[in-house]
């Protein structure tokens, strides 16, 4: 959900790029974080915890807490709250610790 009208802020958005989330094609703005693009598409669950398999989302949004780890272009444990979105990125829900392929 994007903010359409704001009384004091203007949002400079990058050009529209396509990326995939668990195989689904989505659009976002280049240069925003992956987490922001996912939230704009209404997606708030980023990974599944290792032991109890509980869903996890964003908590700190500044790269500090590791709540938002996802698999990006095959690489696990990417903090999507600070990783910038680029054209063609392949973003996947991470299960547990993730594996290096």
């Amino acid at each position: 959900m994007r903010i359409k009208k704001h009384p004091i802020l203007e949002f400079k958005t990058g050009k529209i790029v396509k990326f995939t989330f668990d195989g689904r094609e989505l659009e976002g703005h280049e240069g925003e974080t992956i987490a922001a693009a996912l939230h704009a598409a209404g997606i708030r669950t980023m990974r599944e915890s290792g032991h109890l398999h509980r869903p996890r989302g964003l908590f700190c949004n500044i790269g500090n807490c590791s709540s938002c780890l996802m698999v990006v272009n095959g690489e696990p444990n990417v903090r999507v709250c600070v990783e910038r979105l680029r054209e063609g990125m392949n973003v996947e829900t991470q299960k547990g610790k993730g594996e290096l392929k």
Partner: protein, 358 residues
Amino acid sequence: MRQIEIAIVGGGPAGLAAALNASKLGAQVILIDRNDYLGGQLIKQTHRFFGSKQQRASERGIDIALELANEVMANEKIEVLTEATALGHYEDGVLLVEQAGKIMAIKPERFIVATGGAEKTLLFPNNDLPGVYGAGAVQTLVNVFGVKPGKRVLMVGAGNIGVIVSYQLLQAGVEVAAIIEGAPRIGAYWVHAAKVVRAGVPIYTRHTILRAEGEGEVKGAVIAQLDDNWQPIPGTEREIEADVICLSVGLTPLTELLWQAGCQMTFVPELGGNVPFRNEQLETSVPGLYVAGDVSGIEEASAAMMEGALAGINAAASLGYTSDTLTADRQNVLDQLAGLRSGPVGEKIRKGLAQCSL
């Protein structure tokens, strides 16, 4: 290995002020931040500043951040490393920094840590569900990226940050169901609180959250009234419909580097958690290692800038740099800091600082 006179970790208001003041005296500085921008927490603060009368109050945080960052970028004596994370500081004085997958070793003669703070969480069932956020997280999403965290928010904590972020959510077109606060009184300045109350948001003092509800994601919360011993009063539970629970229950200093460097630390609740012992120069128990800003105790941005200035001046002066106005400049910063921390507003901070002075 890189040799440098002063290395500063953290490019928030404290680190920026430290870099500018140290370089002004003539020192060569490396400024390291893990973000891909400078400014720290300030870049999401779109409101006119609360706090201190003399120090840029009523300017917007984001404007102050941009101004300081531009000044730093234009300064030839300051080398800026962004997307660079400081990993550790070792007995031989070597600082390890990771940038773009590579590790670099830097040996600074003086080291200033200005890593800021991290938001605290609260213990309640389901506090790990997607939809439970720190207030700063929501502020970043809304003010920096223009994206909503959800439709309807329960704000937990009525300090300045909780109330201001609530107001910013309203500006962004997000509904705020209520603000709850455990204490009998709100902590925020009344001018800010009045704005959200006028907009129809109820503030329930002496209330806490018992649990978040929802499978997979937050769908609501159960809140209850507290008695004078902070225990929930049976029968007062009530459900709040909300898809976002925003926690604004304070920050805690990000002190990993200080522990690892061997600084003498102590737990001071008034300053947000574990903090380093420091002298009036802001030097810790490790000689040559200075601290500034939220990492030395959670305060606010004006204090962070003042502390940064002080640490920058002192680190450079200890290397032999001086100027005609050095003593006066240092005294001026100390006076401003004392001013910020005077009166009833500064009482908590003064009490905290008394417990960690060297």
